[in-house]
Subunit: 148 residues, 2 copies
């Protein structure tokens, strides 16, 4: 990852565990903006980690380089992101959210926090800590999905 910890890391981790998030509140927020869930996460990540490499995004979303490539194509076509070849390595592309993209995604982290709150509602504070600890423990030994 690119150093700083994105604000919505917690929600994102949780959403990974909870596949059912598909049908939940996040959808409405996202649909109003004509963004897919995946596009939203990528865009939000780019606002908080400007200049990330596509490889970073693949790692963050735990998908493949190919997926990121096509995902970003859609965002680029709509002018929400930019890909620049800069720095030393001519292979890697630095990805940035455009002002339009940043404006569109503003408030996403708050919406994700609300969603997380909804999902965790049945658990008290202690239980949440326990759940997080257990999931982290399991996660730690799982291999990375991007094995290219």
């Amino acid at each position: 990852m690119s150093g700083t910890e994105p604000q919505f890391t917690t929600s994102l981790e949780l959403l990974r565990w909870i596949g059912w998030a598909q049908m939940m509140a996040g959808q409405d927020w996202v649909r109003e903006r004509d963004l897919s869930r995946e596009q939203s996460f990528a865009l939000g990540f780019l606002v908080q980690n400007p200049g990330s490499m596509q490889r970073d995004i693949a790692e963050m979303t735990r998908t493949s380089a190919a997926s990121v490539s096509s995902l970003l194509q859609g965002l680029e076509k709509r002018g929400l992101i930019e890909r620049r070849i800069g720095g030393g390595d001519q292979r890697s592309k630095r990805v940035y959210a455009t002002p339009a993209g940043a404006e569109l995604i503003a408030g996403f982290d708050i919406a994700m926090n609300d969603l997380e709150e909804k999902i965790l509602a049945p658990l008290d504070e202690q239980e949440r800590v326990t759940l997080h600890a257990l999931l982290t423990k399991v996660t730690s030994v799982l291999p990375q999905p991007t094995r290219d």
Copy 2:
């Protein structure tokens, strides 16, 4: 669901929570047979719940009726399942795994148990019980994804 509890319910529930199962051992088992993960689950479910309605499958996989429809098309084309219109309701189709399908999927539950064991390896028995309880608690208040 259709009364009886499929053997691999536990694994399936776990896989729902653990999106990362995508890249794990189950893949190999499944790839040898040229089945996708989703096809495998559907076929395994049908072996243990012969004559299920497509609606049952949608509920089990927590996807939509449309998804099941296209999923089964692939399996039917390969002769692994059959869809029969029988019983009272002419709308519903009873789905059965063919002998070829049942043979192809044999051992899937064992493979899934192995996979589950791998994923849960870092947790002791007590922790597994706790994790399951917490996930169940969260699950209980989540809406069903198929809302058609």
